[in-house]
Amino acid sequence: MKVILKEPLVYFLLLSGLLFYVTTFFQQDSDNSQEIVVDRASLLSYIQQRTKIVEQDKLIKMFDRMPEDKRSDWVNAYVREEALYREAQALRLEENDPIIKGRVIQKLEFITKEYSEATLNVTQTDLDEYFDKNKQNYYIEPFVTFTHVYFDSGTHGKNSAKSLAIEKLNELSNNKVSFSEGIKHGDRFPYHVNYVERTPDFIASHFGQDMSDKIFNLKTIGDTWQGPFESEYGVHLIMVNRMEKGRFPSLTDVSEQVYQDVQREQIQSNLERSYKAIIDTYSVKVESLSE
């Protein structure tokens, strides 16, 4: 029991429960259960639930401009819902209903979650420790930007595709053919001419793994044609415009993201603690489960 009382959420829930009983107890006298009152506030909140318009002023504006017949449609819908709901309640239809049970549990979970969020406290040590433990989650993939001139080994045969490529390499280099001019040379590749900021597995999915490895191992970045390189489809000459190595960023680089992740982890562990505290207020007796 001592552990439970240390858990402030349980206090909070007890208190709100008490408050609820008190208010409903005093309301009961004045509340005529056969009378449905449609006022501005309740109708607005009803419409908000239905239309999912979040901005309050937008909602009010829409409501105030609404023609009389539309407005009375809403009133009718509200009254219908309220009447049916109350009737169902009077018949105690909500009892032992798994959907309603699930829904009210969900509401309790929301409250618990909000509570867990409100009691967050992320320190620098938390950030350091978390980042250290989960470094692999922040790995930045290598990526590459390049263009290529392609010779199809299907149409030319492997050997002549290769010799065509070697010849072309001389021509491209001697004439200083630029990145954007490369497209005028070679055959049409099944996929793209230019690859922009693409990761190794994307390149592998268009060229095969070997070729992807070769490209990511290229050392010369800039206006130089390189090759020939063989892929699953043929022979390629390549000009690389940009190559970023894969790397683990420093904490400062990704502090915002790490902060959010730590927050999420804290919320989760606060939540688990809170649920456990709630369960601990009950004594549980598991009877013999076999027949």
Partner: protein, 612 residues
């Protein structure tokens, strides 16, 4: 990737000397990637009891078939070149086995007995709800998801596709739909493979019951690729009913997108389904207020039965993460931030028809399901949440593909390189190339496509490193559907990333019909409207049969990331609901939908990236 794309049979007009090469021609193929038969649970419950995958292929090939509700003989107007039968993987064939085939293995289970009692007794609707409910709650009934049951469904898919596939003539792909539906937000994906039945038999479709998290789906794709050499593409369902989740800035668990997420998504999802029967998701008037054509076939009713309230003002849910144009913009932001663009996709249309028949023709529309295939049913049975009648859906969605030949490998390669585009129905031919060397003369050339490929990249490609003081230019050509209406105009839609990290978009009218002059406000006057709402007829004496131009970006900034795509508009034609209204002798205004629409095609984008 271990599957070698065979280009050997392609007639490449190659000259081996100098730089005369690079002129591989492509042909235009039309198809549907998203189609359900009675093997899909929901299709079955909406009265499609015997529409088989075989029938779906027969319809696509242009053969007469039977409408599964009316039992009338029906036939597609213009046949398709390819089709993916993509039945929902969850409980695939289960209702059919329970109620039509009276399969004892399923009927004599405890839940089976209960369902059969409902179905054959007084409450068949409830049987449907009960079964669907277990999927929506992700609490599948174990005997209905055994390996045997899943294998049975998958075999049907494989066999039908293998039989219908005729290389060079008609392509039948093996595929399915993954039906993730958290809180009534539609995150569905259509998946298909260029591989044959033997390869596809090495795995069973990944279902939402395995996981509703797209990242888990991509992980499965990666794992299966490594394990059995599968090659599969994943296409997100149109996003207007996703509650903002389709292109959310967060992942499925609410954490911000990481480079790892972006990498996986870019690898497995190169294409997005932008338009279909459940409406158009290019953009929305709320998101593109300056785009006078943005209010087109919007459909933002969540598929949430609980949200069906008074009906009166069930306002549409319009979220940033629902629409293609905004997602392309968000993608530029992420590319700058993460180094990888998770939303770098090409565009296609697809029907998502549940009637067995891929129908996107206004004058020959077979309905979203089977039950709504007649004008009266569409008028009287609003079976989808939030709609007043079934005219809320569009007779829309086809994929156009520029491929070397009509084979699985060739079409699939075009999807992978995004040389594909979307049409809302008409077979409008669209070429869209980007480069730095196109001249005004090129747009008039007889061999426009050849020049297009030679001097630049086709739709779906990338431009990098603009030569000094050169803005990219775009070579664009559109030809009307020979059986359909004339064209109004071609527009280029540009989106870009500003230095301050914000994004923007602009629509340019680049070429149009009838010698119209732009007004002082820069807008082009409307093309007019020839539709007679009493007869549903229109004439082609406005508009033009083809349009072509070379357009250079007048506002190019070499330091800004940008994308460009073409939108081609038809002249106004009758919406299918007008034809229904005329048949029913009712006022078209009572349908609640416009009498006429301007059908359209969206090219896949071309991206520009500044060099660092």
């Amino acid at each position: 990737m271990n599957k070698k794309v065979k280009l050997s049979s392609i007639a490449l007009a190659i000259t081996l000397i100098g730089s005369q090469v690079n002129a591989g021609e492509t042909q235009l193929l039309w198809g549907d990637t998203h189609l359900h038969t009675s093997n899909s649970m929901d299709a079955y419950f909406f009265n499609n009891r015997d529409g088989t995958p075989e029938a779906a292929y027969r319809w696509a090939k242009g053969l007469p078939v039977i409408n599964t509700s009316t039992r009338a003989r029906i036939q597609i107007g213009t046949p398709l070149d390819f089709l993916v039968v993509s039945d929902h993987a969850e409980y695939m064939t289960v209702p059919k086995r329970l109620f039509t085939l009276k399969d004892k293995a399923l009927r004599e289970t405890e839940f089976g007995k209960k369902l059969v009692k409902l179905w054959e007794g007084e409450n068949p609707t409830m049987a449907g709800f009960e079964l669907v409910g277990t999927v929506n709650d992700l609490k599948p009934y174990a005997p209905f998801v055994t390996k045997e049951v899943r294998q049975y469904g998958w075999n049907q898919v494989i066999e039908a596709a293998e039989q219908a596939n005729e290389p060079g003539k008609f392509t039948a792909f093996i595929g399915w739909e993954w039906t993730s539906f958290p809180d009534a937000s539609n995150l569905h994906r259509v998946l298909f493979t260029p591989q044959n039945g033997k390869e596809a038999a090495k795995y069973l479709p990944f279902t939402a019951l395995d996981s509703s998290d797209p990242e888990q789906l991509w992980n499965w794709l990666e794992k299966t690729n490594k394990a059995v050499g599968s090659e599969i593409i994943s296409i997100p369902h149109n996003g207007n009913v996703s509650n903002g989740l389709m292109f959310s800035r967060d992942d499925f668990n609410g954490a911000p997108i990481t480079p790892g997420y972006a990498k996986l998504r870019a690898r497995w999802e190169p294409i997005y389904e932008v338009t279909q029967i459940k409406g158009d998701s290019e953009t929305h008037p709320i998101q593109s207020p300056n785009d006078e054509f943005s209010d087109y076939e919007t459909y933002a009713h969540l598929l949430d039965a609980a949200g069906v309230a008074s009906g009166a003002e069930m306002k549409e849910v319009v979220a940033e993460g629902d629409y293609a144009r905004r997602a392309l913009r968000t993608g530029l932001e992420f590319e700058e931030k993460l180094g990888v663009n998770p939303f770098k996709f090409g565009l296609i249309g697809a029907t998502d028809s549940h009637s067995t028949y891929a129908s996107a023709e206004e004058n020959n529309f077979q309905g979203k399901f089977s039950i709504d295939s007649t004008p009266e049913a569409r008028r009287d049975m609003p079976i989808m949440p939030g709609v007043k009648n079934m005219w809320a859906v569009s007779a829309a969605g086809l994929s156009a593909v520029w491929a070397e030949e009509n084979t699985r490998e060739s079409i699939y390669a075009a999807f992978k390189r995004k040389e594909v585009y979307a049409s809302t129905g008409p077979r409008i031919a669209v070429r869209f190339f980007g480069g730095y060397d196109y001249t005004a003369q090129d747009a008039k050339a007889n061999d426009l496509a050849k020049i297009g490929y030679k001097k630049g990249v086709p739709m779906g490609g990338d431009l990098v490193k603009a030569p000094k003081n050169t803005a990219p230019s775009f070579l664009i050509h559109a030809v009307k559907d020979p059986k359909d209406a004339n064209l109004d105009r071609i527009q280029v839609i540009k989106g870009w990333l500003n230095a301050d990290g914000t994004t923007a978009e602009k629509v340019f009218d680049v070429v149009w019909s009838d010698n119209r002059k732009k007004q002082k406000n820069g807008k082009l006057p409307a093309v007019g409207n020839t539709v007679d709402i009493n007869t549903g007829k229109y004439t082609n004496n406005i508009g033009t049969a083809q349009l072509s131009t070379t357009w250079k970006d007048p506002e190019f900034n070499p330091n800004q990331r940008a994308f460009y795509y073409a939108r081609v508009l038809q002249i106004p034609t009758p919406r299918y609901s007008l034809l229904d209204a005329i048949a029913l002798q009712m006022d078209v205004k009572e349908t609640g939908h416009p009498a006429t629409i301007q059908e359209r095609a969206y090219s896949s984008p071309i991206w520009y990236t500044p060099s660092k």
